[in-house]
C-alpha cells in the first residue's frame, strides 16, 4: 500500500480468461466499500489469445476529494499481481511488477502452452522450476496453486477462484462477505462462482503454495508373474535374467511388442537385448547403472514397434478406447458416442505393407505407382462404430499380423541393425557415446512425411559421429545435436550445431 493508502493490483491474463470480469469485480467491490476505484486495460487485438494486463487502483476518498489514479502499473509499486497462468506469473516478474518489499503474487500454477512451445517437434515446454525460483525470490508473498482446475471442479471459471485467493490474501481491507456480495451483485456466474471463490479462499488460507503440476510419473507396469500362459511365463523368466536396473524398462518394452505383434516378437527383442546387455556388463555397466541396456530397452522397443496402419487400426478398434473417448467427451450415460477416423494412406505406405518382393517390384515401376496414386491416395474417413467400418479396420489390423514378411519390416529391421551396430561401435570408443547414439532413435517417429523427416534428421545427427568419436565430450555433443534436431521442423537449429561441430 502507498502512503496515501492507495492499493494497486495488476492482473495478467490471456484473452478469454475473464481478466476483465475479475477487474470489474474488484472495482465494484471497492466502490461498494466507499472507495474510489479505477481499472483500465489495453486489450487491443490481444482479445483473442494474446497476453493482456488489466490494472486497478483503489484508494479511500478524502472528504470530497477523489484520488488521481494511474492508468498503468509502475514497476516496483504494485501491491498485488494476479497471474492467471504460470508463465504469466513469470512475465509479471520479468516486467518488474513483482518486488520483494511490496508485492503479493497470486498465481494459478496451471500451464497453457504458447504456440512457440507447442510447435517444436520435440519438447518445447518452458521449465516451470525457473518460474517458481523467480517468483519465490521476487514476491513478498506467494499464493500459488492450480486455480484453473479448482474453478472447473466447481463448475466455474478461473476468475472466481482468483477473487477467492485475493480475498484470502488480505491485500484489500475488505471482509470476505463484501467479496461474496460483489459476486452476487455482479449477476454473472452466481452459485458456481461462489463455490469456486470459497474453495480458493480455503486453499489460500490453509495451503497457499503448491508446486506447479509436474509431468505425470512414468508408469512402469511389471511383466505378469505366473500368468498361466506358458510362453509369457518363459519370457518373464528371461526378463528376470537381465540386470535389475534394466528390468522394468525391458518389461515395458516387452509388453509393447507383445501388444504390437506376438510373443515371438518379444523373443526377438530379448535376443537383441541380451547381446547388448552382455557388452554392457563387460564394459563396466554395473558402475553406470546399465545405462546402455536401459537406453537400448527403451529405444529398441520403440523402433521394433514402428508406426504403421495395421497398428493404428488395431488400436482404434479396442473396446477400452471406446470407453476412453466417452470419458473424454464427457458423455452422459444415455448419450450415444461414435467416432470418425481420418486416414490418408498413400501408395508408398501401401507398397511397404506388401510382401517384400511384390513391394519392390511395384516400387521399381513409377508409372504403375502413378496409376495407383490415383486410386489409393486420398483421405478416407472411417467409423469403427459401423459394421462396414469395423470390418475394414479389422482387415487392416489383421494384415499387421503378417508384417514380418513385408517390405517395411525388412527396411525397419535393416535400419535397426545398422543403428545398433553404430551404437556398439561408439560404445566401444566411449560408454556415454554409445548411450547417446541409442538416444538418437528418438528422432524417428510418426507416419509418412513426418517419418521421412525424422529419418533424415537421424542421418544428419549421426553423420557427426566420426568427428565425435575423437572427442572426450562427444556424447554431450551428440545429445546437443539430438535436442537441436527437435527444436524446429526444418532442422535450422541442427544445422547450426553441425556447423559448430565442424569448426571444433
Amino acid at each position: 500500500m502507498s502512503e496515501a493508502g492507495r492499493i494497486s493490483i495488476a492482473i495478467l491474463a490471456m484473452g478469454g480468461q475473464g481478466g476483465g470480469v475479475l477487474a470489474d469485480w474488484i472495482v465494484l467491490l471497492a466502490e461498494r466499500q466507499g472507495w474510489a476505484a479505477q481499472s483500465t486495460s489495453v486489450p487491443g487485438v490481444a482479445q483473442r489469445t494474446g497476453a493482456t494486463i488489466y490494472y486497478i487502483e483503489t484508494a479511500p476518498l478524502r472528504g470530497d476529494l477523489a484520488p488521481v489514479l494511474a492508468l498503468m502499473p509502475t514497476p516496483g509499486d504494485v501491491d498485488c499481481v494476479i497471474a492467471a497462468e504460470l508463465m504469466e506469473a513469470g512475465r509479471s516478474v520479468l516486467r518488474g511488477l513483482v518486488t520483494p518489499d511490496r508485492t503479493t503474487l497470486i498465481a494459478s500454477t496451471h500451464r497453457s502452452p504458447a504456440i512457440v512451445e507447442k510447435q517444436a517437434p520435440g519438447d518445447g515446454i518452458g521449465d516451470p522450476d525457473v518460474v517458481v525460483a523467480a517468483t519465490d525470490f521476487a514476491a513478498r508473498r506467494v499464493i500459488a496453486f492450480d486455480m484453473e482446475r479448482m474453478a472447473k471442479s466447481q463448475g466455474s471459471v478461473i476468475s472466481a477462484a482468483m477473487l477467492g485467493a485475493l480475498a484470502a490474501a488480505d491485500v484489500l481491507p475488505f471482509p470476505r462477505e463484501a467479496f461474496e456480495a460483489t459476486i452476487r451483485a455482479g449477476g454473472t456466474g452466481g452459485e458456481p462462482s461462489l463455490r469456486a471463490f470459497a474453495a480458493a479462499f480455503a486453499q489460500a488460507k490453509a495451503k497457499p503454495i503448491e508446486p506447479p503440476p509436474g509431468h505425470p510419473r512414468k508408469r512402469f507396469v511389471a511383466w505378469p508373474t505366473a500368468s498361466g500362459h506358458v510362453e509369457l511365463d518363459r519370457l518373464g523368466a528371461r526378463i528376470g535374467q537381465f540386470p535389475i536396473e534394466a528390468q522394468s524398462m525391458i518389461a515395458i518394452g516387452a509388453r509393447k511388442l507383445a501388444d504390437y505383434l506376438d510373443a515371438a516378437y518379444v523373443g526377438e527383442y530379448l535376443d537383441r537385448l541380451s547381446a547388448l546387455a552382455e557388452r554392457d556388463r563387460a564394459s563396466g555397466g554395473v558402475q553406470r547403472g546399465f545405462a546402455f541396456t536401459v537406453a537400448a530397452a527403451k529405444y529398441l522397443a520403440g523402433a521394433m514397434a514402428y508406426d504403421d496402419l495395421p497398428r493404428v487400426a488395431d488400436l482404434k478398434l479396442r473396446s477400452s478406447r471406446q470407453a476412453r473417448v466417452r470419458r473424454e467427451v464427457g458423455a452422459s450415460d444415455d448419450a450415444i458416442v461414435t467416432t470418425t477416423e481420418y486416414f490418408h494412406p498413400r501408395v508408398d505406405e501401401l507398397c511397404a505393407t506388401l510382401p517384400k518382393k511384390l513391394g519392390l517390384w511395384i516400387e521399381a515401376r513409377p508409372r504403375l505407382i502413378e496409376w495407383m496414386r490415383g486410386i489409393v491416395d486420398r483421405g478416407r474417413r472411417i467409423s469403427p462404430n459401423t459394421i462396414s467400418g469395423y470390418l475394414m479396420l479389422a482387415f487392416v489390423a489383421h494384415w499387421g499380423l503378417k508384417r514380418r514378411g513385408s517390405l517395411r519390416h525388412a527396411r525397419e529391421m535393416a535400419h535397426i541393425e545398422a543403428w545398433l551396430q553404430s551404437a556398439l561401435a561408439a560404445f566401444a570408443v566411449q560408454y556415454e557415446l554409445g548411450v547417446a547414439v541409442l538416444g538418437c532413435r528418438r528422432l524417428i517417429k510418426g507416419y509418412s512425411d513426418t517419418h521421412a523427416r525424422g529419418v533424415s534428421k537421424f542421418d544428419r545427427v549421426t553423420s557427426a559421429l566420426p568427428q565425435l568419436k575423437a572427442r572426450d565430450d562427444g556424447a554431450a555433443w551428440l545429445d546437443r545435436l539430438t535436442r537441436a534436431a527437435l527444436a524446429d521442423e526444418k532442422g535450422a537449429a541442427l544445422d547450426g550445431v553441425l556447423k559448430t561441430i565442424a569448426t571444433l
Binding site: V93, L94, I115, V130, R219
Partner: protein, 720 residues
C-alpha cells in the same frame, strides 16, 4: 452487432440528471454525445472506440426517442463526409474511428470539411491507438489537426473531464465554425470510472427540418475563389474565435502554486502519469495537490499563447510533456517565447524520449532529469522512487527471459481462417514460397507462428492493391489476401477494380467470415444475418463480377482443406488471364458460438436430439512430432507429457474447449499426417431409431471384436 448484445450498456445511456454513470470511458463519451443534443452519429468500428458504435447500434429505442440518426459508415472517409450535414445547418454531429489509420482514410473529407467550416458543432472522436496494446503504425493524429486546422481536444483521462470536453467541444466548434477532434488514448477508452449525468437532449434542429428547408451558400463550397476566402477566414476569424472561447471557458487548467522556479506543461491525456511521477518524487500527493505548477492542456491545438507566456515568463525552466514524435508543442513554445524574448528554458524531448509511450517509469526518469538540471533543490525530500532494477538484475529473474514465451494473438478456437492458411502452407510446400501481400483484419494473424505467411500490409482493403507492381511475366504469381471488412471498406475499388482494369495476373484470396470480425463482429454488407435496420446478404462474388472479374471461385466451407488447397493450386497455375479471385466463406466461429452455444445447451436440456462434435487425439497413436500444431495453432490443440516410459516428447491433446470445427482432421488428411485424430460425435437425447441402430451395431461389433482379440496376446493393464 449481430451476435453480442449491449443491452446492459444501452440502459446506461438512459440515465437522467443526477444519476451516476459507472462504466468505461468510451461509453461515457457516448452518453455525453446524447447529453449534448447531437442530431446524428456515424463512424467506423475499430479498437479502442468500437464500443461507441456497438452500443449505439443496439440503442435503437433511445436514439429514436431522441430523434438521433445513427449509422455505421462504410469507411472513415464516409464517416468524415457525413459531418458535412453540419456545414450548412445548425446540426450537431459526431463521428468516430481509430486513428491514425482511420484519419488517413478520412483525410480527404476532413480537409474539405475544415476548409469550408461548419455551422453546427462537428466532433470527431479519435481513438488514438498509440503505445502498448496498439495494433497499428505509431504516429500522432496531431499532424492532421495542425494541417487542416481542426481543434484537437486531449482531455484529462477521467470521466467527468471527458464528458465536459464533449459538451464544450461542440460549443467550441460552433463558436469558431471549425470541426473539433476529441482524442482519447487506448487506456482512456477502457478506463472505468463514474460521472454524474445530465438529461439527454433532443437536437434543437433536426435533419428532417434541414432536408425540407435546404440552404445553399456557395461561399462554403471548396472551389476557388471561396477556397482562398476560407484560408483567410481560418486565420483571421476562426482561430481567434477558438482562442477566445478556450480562454474564457478556461478549458486548459492551472494547478499547483501560482509561482515557482520551474513548471510543467502537460497534455491533458498525460496528466495522471505526470502527476504520478511528481508524487513518486515527493512533489505531489495522491489527490492532485502539487508543489510544482502545472499547466494542463486539455486543448492540444490551438495553443493559447497568452496563457503559455504567462505560465512561462517568470519561471527558470518549463518541461513539456508531449508523447510521440515530432515535438509539435515544444517547437511551438520555443517560437512563442523567442518572439517575445523570454529566456525561460524549455525542456521536453531532451529529457523524455522522442518516441514510445510515456509510462510512469519513463516519466519518473524524465521529470527527475529535468529537475536535477533546473531545480535540484526540489529533489531529495521525497522517498526513493519505485525501482525494480535490483530485482530485474538477479540471475533468477534473468533466467526467466529464456523460459517465458511470447504470447502473440492468434486465431480463435475453431476459426474458419485457420484452414485457409493451413492450405496455403501446404501449397507452398508444393510450389515453393510466394510473394504474399497481407491486409488488415483477423487474417493478419497469419504472419505470426505457426503459419508465418504474409510479407507486407499497406492498409485496410489494400492487400491486392499492394501487389499491383507484381504484374509481370514470371514463374510464380503473387498471392494477396483481403478480408470481407477490407473488401467493402476500400478493397472493391482500390484492390479488385484496379486489378481487373490493369489485368493483374495475381491470385486474390478474399476471406469472408460474415462479420467485421477483428473489430468485434459488427455486420457488414455481406453479413449473412438478417438485420432489420441494414441491408445485408450482399454477395461478394456478385460484387467482384460486377466490377469485371471473370475467374472467380467460391468455397463455402473453408474447413475443406483439401478443396481449399486444390483451388489455390488451380488459381496459381491456370492459364486464365486477369486476376484469379477466390472467395473463401465460413462464419466467424467466435460469433457463431455466441449464437449456437446457448441454443444447443437449451435444446439438450429440453430433451431434443442434438449431435455435438468434438475432436480428440489417440495418445497411443500420436508420436509427438507436433506437425499438426504447426498447421493449426488452435488454442484447444495443445501438448501433454505422457506416463509412457518409452516416450520422451509430449503428445498432442485436445481440450474440452474444442468446438469440433474439423480443421484437425482435415489437415491430418490433406497433409497425410498421422491418423491419431478422431472426431467424436455425441448424440444427446438419441431417438428410438438411434438407440436401435446403435444396439445392433454394438452387438455385432462386440462379438467380432471378442473373436479378434482371442487370437492375440493381451496382457492385463496394457490398454489403460
Amino acid at each position: 452487432m449481430a451476435e453480442r448484445s449491449f443491452a446492459r450498456e444501452v440502459e446506461d445511456l438512459k440515465l437522467g440528471a443526477g444519476d451516476v454513470f459507472r462504466g468505461e470511458g468510451i461509453l461515457a463519451i457516448t452518453k455525453a454525445l446524447l447529453q449534448s443534443g447531437v442530431a446524428y452519429v456515424a463512424g467506423y468500428q475499430g479498437s479502442p472506440i468500437s464500443h461507441l458504435m456497438d452500443v449505439l447500434a443496439d440503442a435503437k429505442d433511445v436514439l429514436s426517442e431522441l430523434g438521433v440518426h445513427f449509422e455505421t459508415s462504410a469507411s472513415e472517409a464516409t464517416a468524415a463526409a457525413t459531418l458535412s450535414a453540419s456545414v450548412m445547418y445548425p446540426l450537431r454531429g459526431a463521428v468516430t474511428w481509430k486513428s491514425t489509420a482511420g484519419t488517413n482514410v478520412a483525410a480527404d473529407a476532413l480537409s474539405n470539411l475544415a476548409s469550408g467550416g461548419v455551422t453546427g458543432g462537428a466532433m470527431i472522436i479519435i481513438g488514438e491507438d498509440y503505445g502498448e496494446g496498439s495494433s497499428i503504425m505509431q504516429e500522432r493524429t496531431h499532424a492532421y489537426a495542425l494541417k487542416s486546422q481542426i481543434w484537437l481536444l486531449d482531455p484529462r483521462p477521467n470521466l467527468p473531464t471527458l464528458v465536459r470536453m464533449v459538451e464544450q467541444g461542440f460549443e467550441l466548434s460552433e463558436a469558431s465554425n471549425t470541426p473539433v477532434m476529441l482524442e482519447v488514448r487506448i487506456r482512456t477508452c477502457h478506463v472505468h470510472g463514474q460521472f454524474v449525468c445530465k438529461d439527454n437532449r433532443r437536437p434543437e434542429f433536426t435533419l428532417r427540418a434541414a432536408l425540407e428547408n435546404p440552404v445553399r451558400d456557395v461561399n462554403r463550397i471548396v472551389l476557388p475563389p471561396a477556397s482562398f476566402l476560407h484560408e483567410k477566414e481560418k486565420i483571421e476569424k476562426r482561430m481567434p474565435a477558438a482562442i477566445e472561447f478556450v480562454k474564457s471557458r478556461k478549458l486548459n487548467e492551472l494547478m499547483g502554486p501560482a509561482e515557482g522556479d520551474v513548471g510543467v506543461v502537460t497534455l491533458g491525456g498525460l496528466y495522471n502519469t505526470t502527476l504520478r511521477a511528481l508524487e513518486y518524487l515527493g512533489l505531489a500527493d495522491a489527490y492532485g495537490a502539487t508543489r510544482v505548477p502545472l499547466y494542463v492542456l486539455n486543448i492540444a491545438y490551438p495553443l493559447i499563447e497568452d496563457e503559455l507566456v504567462a505560465f512561462c515568463r517568470d519561471k527558470r525552466a518549463v518541461l513539456i510533456v508531449e508523447e510521440g514524435a515530432p515535438d509539435y508543442i515544444e517547437r511551438d513554445l520555443h517560437a512563442i517565447l523567442r518572439r517575445r524574448d523570454i529566456a525561460t528554458r524549455i525542456s521536453g524531448k531532451d529529457v523524455l524520449p522522442m518516441g514510445g509511450e510515456y509510462t510512469s517509469q519513463v516519466m519518473i526518469k524524465g521529470v527527475q532529469a529535468f529537475l536535477s538540471r533546473h531545480a535540484r533543490d526540489l529533489l531529495g525530500n521525497g522517498p526513493p522512487a519505485p525501482d525494480p532494477s535490483s530485482v530485474l538484475s538477479d540471475p533468477r529473474v534473468k533466467a526467466l527471459a529464456a523460459v517465458v514465451p511470447a504470447r502473440p494473438p492468434g486465431f480463435c478456437i475453431g476459426c474458419p481462417e485457420r484452414p485457409i492458411f493451413a492450405a496455403m502452407k501446404l501449397v507452398e510446400d508444393e510450389l515453393g514460397l510466394h510473394h504474399i501481400s497481407a491486409d488488415i483484419g483477423c487474417h493478419l494473424f497469419s504472419i505470426l507462428p505457426p503459419f508465418n505467411i504474409g510479407a507486407t500490409t499497406m492498409g485496410y482493403g489494400l492487400g491486392p492493391a499492394s501487389a499491383s507492381a507484381f504484374n509481370v511475366p514470371s514463374g510464380k504469381r503473387s498471392i494477396s489476401i483481403l478480408g470481407d471488412g477490407g473488401f467493402w471498406h476500400n478493397g472493391l475499388a482500390s484492390s479488385i477494380g484496379n486489378a481487373v482494369f490493369n489485368k493483374h495476373d495475381g491470385v486474390t484470396l478474399i476471406v469472408d467470415n460474415y462479420y467485421s470480425a477483428a473489430t468485434g463482429g459488427q455486420d457488414i454488407p455481406s453479413s449473412r444475418a438478417l438485420n432489420p435496420r441494414r441491408k445485408t446478404n450482399n454477395s461478394i462474388v456478385e460484387a467482384v463480377r460486377g466490377v469485371g472479374a471473370r475467374w472467380v471461385r467460391q468455397i463455402d466451407r473453408t474447413y475443406d482443406v483439401a478443396g481449399m488447397r486444390a483451388l489455390l493450386l488451380e488459381a496459381l497455375t491456370t492459364k486464365a488471364e486477369g486476376p484469379k479471385i477466390i472467395v473463401a466463406s465460413s462464419e466467424c466461429m467466435l460469433n457463431k458460438q455466441r449464437r449456437l452455444r446457448p441454443a444447443i445447451a437449451k435444446a439438450i436440456t429440453a430433451g431434443e436430439r442434438v449431435v455435438k462434435e468434438k475432436f480428440g487425439v489417440d495418445p497411443d497413436i500420436c508420436t509427438g512430432d507436433h506437425a499438426c500444431i504447426r498447421l493449426s495453432g488452435c488454442p484447444s490443440l495443445s501438448v501433454q507429457h505422457t506416463d509412457d516410459p518409452l516416450r520422451d516428447d509430449p503428445i498432442a491433446a485436445i481440450d474440452e474447449s474444442c468446438v469440433g470445427c474439423g480443421n484437425c482432421g482435415e489437415v491430418a488428411e490433406a497433409a497425410a499426417l498421422c491418423p491419431s485424430f478422431y472426431r467424436a460425435e455425441t448424440i444427446h437425447n438419441p431417438s428410438v431409431f438411434d438407440r436401435w441402430l446403435h444396439r445392433l451395431r454394438a452387438a455385432v461389433i462386440d462379438w467380432l471384436e471378442m473373436r479378434r482379440t482371442r487370437r492375440r496376446v493381451r496382457l492385463a493393464g496394457a490398454d489403460a
